[in-house]
Symmetry: C2
Subunit: 114 residues, 2 copies
DNA sequence: GAAATATATACACAATAAGATATATACATG
DNA sequence: CATGTATATATCTTATTGTGTATATATTTC
């Protein structure tokens, strides 16, 4: 539960969300990101550190450049978090389905009242 | 793209993430949330407004109480956002799968180099 | 090994946001 | 309609965070 907070905090900044978007299709050097964003190099560097500490990106040196890319595991964690919520809607949908099919009709009608 | 930022910003605060968790299993009155969280009533109220403006929760008056609950649509939006990223990993996995099966072996080996 | 290129860090400043206290609004009940 | 209960808002204070400038570190090239 403490894990996701860092992920959400990392994604909660417009600049960082833009940086993430820049890496959508693959690795990007810091300089490429600086060009595309309207932020100074130092800022991009700091944002990348936050994204890195949140586990959202990884880095691979390439000569004097550093190539950043997204980490699938971070997205998996968000998925896992959301799955805990989806479950409840699915349960409700199941009950709705049963009601529509005429099964458990009494219980369904009873819940409608409360 | 501007939509998700609000969602992430709303979820980026520990108190709000806790409030969301409180509503995991269904509706909650403001007072119930105040009891469970260690924040003053005014703070909870303000957090609920932020969650509401982000589209994460909805409200339904019940006498003098107000019952808040999660909005499935918000989670759908996050899913949609993430789907755009998953697509790329799936493509890569497909290519990996092809390579492992020996199909398109030449192309796979070529990409390995670059 | 000096200059150039690429990236990270330190620091100061401004803007934002969270928290508490006090107050306002809305509904319910006698 | 006065009182109590439930929630929202206004205001102040404090802490956090993003941004830019300047500087440090690392790598390549001549």
């Amino acid at each position: 539960m403490n894990v996701q907070i860092r992920l959400f905090q990392a994604l909660a900044d417009p600049a960082r969300l833009g940086i993430v978007e820049t890496m959508k299709t693959g690795e990007r050097a810091v300089g490429d990101i600086v060009e595309r964003m309207n932020i100074h190099q130092s800022g991009v560097s700091r944002h990348l550190r936050i994204l890195s500490e949140a586990g959202l990106v990884q880095m691979r040196p390439d000569g004097q450049k550093r190539l950043y890319s997204l980490r699938k595991e971070a997205f998996d964690q968000i998925d896992t978090w959301m799955a805990g919520y989806r479950r409840h809607w699915e349960k409700r949908l199941d009950r709705l389905g049963e009601a529509l099919e005429g099964r458990h009709a009494l219980r369904a009608r009873h819940q409608e009242k409360s």
